[in-house]
Assembly symmetry: C2
Homo-oligomer: 478 residues x 2
């Protein structure tokens, strides 16, 4: 028991030090590790398996909505990056530059892609000619580099994995529809697959993507009351098309610029899974994304028949769920802790007494509730349980978010909330950048989004008292 | 018809200019395109869909053999790359160097990974402690960079996509078994999935991977008689373990070095698919890897009922094959050429007369043979046809390879063959590097491999006349 105790004690509690708790889970659940390369992480098998499940689901949704995968170079020549002014200003300060190939100095520096708008535009400017070529609905899975000063696993790393969708359309309307469609795909992924409730909305001009006309976002609330931007979708209008001269001959015979979008979701979302669902025993995974949905732990496995029976059950369950059996010689209590740390949704225990009673014990990770299930009913009860866990996690996360969502009518109230009640603050805004800057200065909060679902908190701007244009979610963010 | 003619004429014939024929297919089948970045290509949707099918199949086989996916950083600090002497000597001349992050010069240069042995070793040196931690069976899907001087799409590019498997084991024997196991996985992929016959064998010391004790390879023969190394698997012994100090406490309580392997297959294999199966009308894809296995082309589609019937057939076929229907307003002949260029294994034609007769026309891409199939039999006949095409392509490729495999007893004969009969040359070798170098100098051929299936071509080395150690496949290679 001493060993088991130690295993649990090794995690800092959430309330004591949230940042340390987060780091402990990343390491002890074996999701990722630091590497010898500044700001870059090693994504370990268990962490990568979660990412693969997310990839599979997103990729399925992308293809269902007509998108095709492609691959663009990882390098962007400096002259290409420079073509769109706002874009280069946004990204140039944080890119890694390749200056030498082998022993030769390059005539032009190449940056390692921080995002690939410029590469897609370059390709399209050469290949798109007529309305028949439109739309192009592309996506790519890759890694990108942004030279961040301070880094944390998954949340902010110099290199991270993501997908970046890039599309071009014949009309502004189509581009806008695509931008919203893909934001909805992200929201569906977050809510239905990851059990993470999100607020959908538009970024203010200050917070939008470098070079975009409009940026939409899904914002999630972490356990500590900080927000996390979980996915963004950008409408570029014809900004890039003009910078890169992407024109097509329309049905009416006229030459027109295309309208462009891009959208991305990254391994940051792994941080959200940890910080929305995790607890002081470790990770808690929603069943849909869990690499292992059920772990079978035989009790008194030295007793004849136990492992055989457990194997039989494993074979049955493997037809309906992702299952693992642990017959290592560690003590059951040790194993319990280990799989709790890894957030496995359901533990199935089977021992000699259970075999006698033709039953198994199911213990759910989220509530630790224990149920005894007849072996005859396992094929119906287990999927029900997994579904219930998925739903409970979402409901719980949603009620936590609602508890931590406040309203402020004036700047004093906003400041007071920001200091004492970590969470989302709903407050009205006049639309002026000055007020946005001041709110940041005074309360330390940034605008997370102008939600699609608007409501009227008050009549006037929380900052200047002038007529309000929008209700905004404010908060501190990862 | 003029338009159609032009479409076909635009491809250079294989016999006229093989290199140009290859490039034409890459462009006209829309597999890849040049990018604005030196030596880097854009992999277009159709090309990427082929790669995705290869990925899915390989990944399935990797997981079936117990491997887990991970992700390592894309950068390697110079000091880390320098740790294994042979390895750095092999790769340093062809890496891209990152020297600046944002506006700051880095204190240590980072190379963009040309391969990731050093990163895996660094990770393991920190995480592996006991025999309980072994084996580690890892794989990663990523892109790598090698600063090649001359590049060709898929065959040799500055950046390419691949998977790299990296494993460590407690014993030399296990590592050797793993190395061979993964070579066999590659051979299975090539032969059964891509219909490409391969020769399995070991590389000579001269041709082996930088830092390896033994490199195994699968070698395929292209239509023009040149060889292509399609996948390699390396046994490092404890070379890297010693350089990176990866030790574990064994069951006997003693500290021991691990034994390591790595193995990789890249987008180069796309080049092999083109050059093994393609013809003067374009790409020819084996059904198993084809993104579209059947294309439905309605004939006289303006006639009432034709498109409706074609749709009905599409729904039925989509349950058993990857199917696409083309109802665009291009002429049928144009469409025939287009899908021939793209190598779609089966074309299904359906027109008013066919509907009357309750039949469809199936045309296979490889032989162009036409068959009339009753609509009632489509669910049985179509899978049979796809299977037959898969098999025929393999058989044809194998007999081409056999026709182009020669034997040489002395250097004159070898030289004569190398000059006039492009293909594999089987010849005996004494094992001396000097002879290997001389054969290259005299005949322009390199040793492709020492095949596992040895045979005796003669008693003495083809070069020096001393006692022969091994039969070797020699050839010119991509
Ligand atoms: Zn204001
Ligand atoms: Zn010799």
């Amino acid at each position: 028991m001493a060993k088991e105790k130690k295993f649990v004690e090794a995690i800092t509690s959430m309330d004591e030090d949230f940042a340390q708790w987060y780091t402990d889970i990343v390491k002890k659940a074996e999701l990722a590790d630091y590497s010898g390369v500044r700001g870059c992480m090693v994504i370990r098998p268990y962490g990568y398996a979660i990412w693969e499940n997310i990839q599979r689901e997103l990729d399925r949704m992308f293809k269902e909505t007509g998108h095709e995968n492609v691959y663009m170079p990882m390098f962007i020549p400096e002259s290409l990056l420079n073509k769109e002014k706002e874009h280069v200003e946004g990204f140039a300060p944080e890119v890694a530059w390749v200056t030498h190939g082998g022993s030769e100095e390059l005539t032009e520096r190449l940056c390692v892609r921080p995002t690939s708008e410029t590469l897609f535009c370059d390709h399209w400017s050469k290949t798109v000619q007529s309305y028949n070529d439109l739309p192009k609905l592309y996506n790519q899975w890759c890694s990108v580099v942004r030279w961040e000063k301070t880094t944390r696993p998954f949340l902010r790393t110099a290199e991270f994995l993501w997908q970046e969708g890039h599309t071009i359309h014949a009309t502004e309307k189509e581009a806008e529809e695509e931008t919203v469609r893909m934001l909805n795909v992200y929201a569906t992924l977050a809510e239905e697959f990851l059990a993470i409730p999100v607020v959908k909305g538009q970024k203010t001009d200050k917070e939008k993507f470098a070079g975009a006309s409009a940026t939409y976002t899904i914002e999630a609330l972490m356990h500590d009351g900080k927000a996390l931007q979980a996915g963004t979708s950008h409408n570029f209008g014809d900004n890039f098309a003009k910078a890169f001269d992407i024109q097509f001959t329309d049905k009416d015979g006229k030459l027109k610029y295309v309208y462009e979008t891009s959208w991305g979701m990254s391994t940051r979302i792994m941080g959200a899974i940890i910080m929305v669902h995790g607890d002081d025993s470790g990770l808690v995974l929603p069943p849909k994304v869990a690499p292992i949905q059920v772990v079978i732990i035989p009790i008194s496995q030295h007793v004849e028949g136990v492992v055989g029976k457990a194997n039989e059950i494993k074979d049955r369950i493997s037809k309906i769920a992702r299952v693992k059996m642990d017959t290592s010689d560690k003590m059951p209590g040790w194993k319990f802790n280990e799989y709790e740390m890894k957030g496995v949704p359901v533990r199935l225990e089977i021992g000699p007494k259970d075999i006698e009673k033709n039953q198994v014990v199911l213990v759910r990770r989220d509530t630790r509730e224990k149920t005894f299930v007849s072996l005859d009913e396992i094929e119906t009860k287990l999927p029900e349980l997994l579904e219930d866990i998925q739903k409970s996690l979402y409901d719980k996360a949603k009620s936590v978010r609602e508890e931590k969502t406040y309203k402020a009518a004036d700047i004093e109230e906003l400041k007071e909330l920001a200091e004492n009640k970590p969470g989302f603050i709903k407050a009205m805004w006049c639309g002026d950048r000055e007020c946005e800057d001041k709110i940041k200065e005074v309360a330390g909060t940034t605008s997370r989004c102008m939600p699609f679902e608007q409501e009227k908190v008050s009549d006037t701007c929380v900052c200047c008292g002038k007529k309000a244009e929008k209700m905004v979610y404010w908060g501190k963010a990862y």
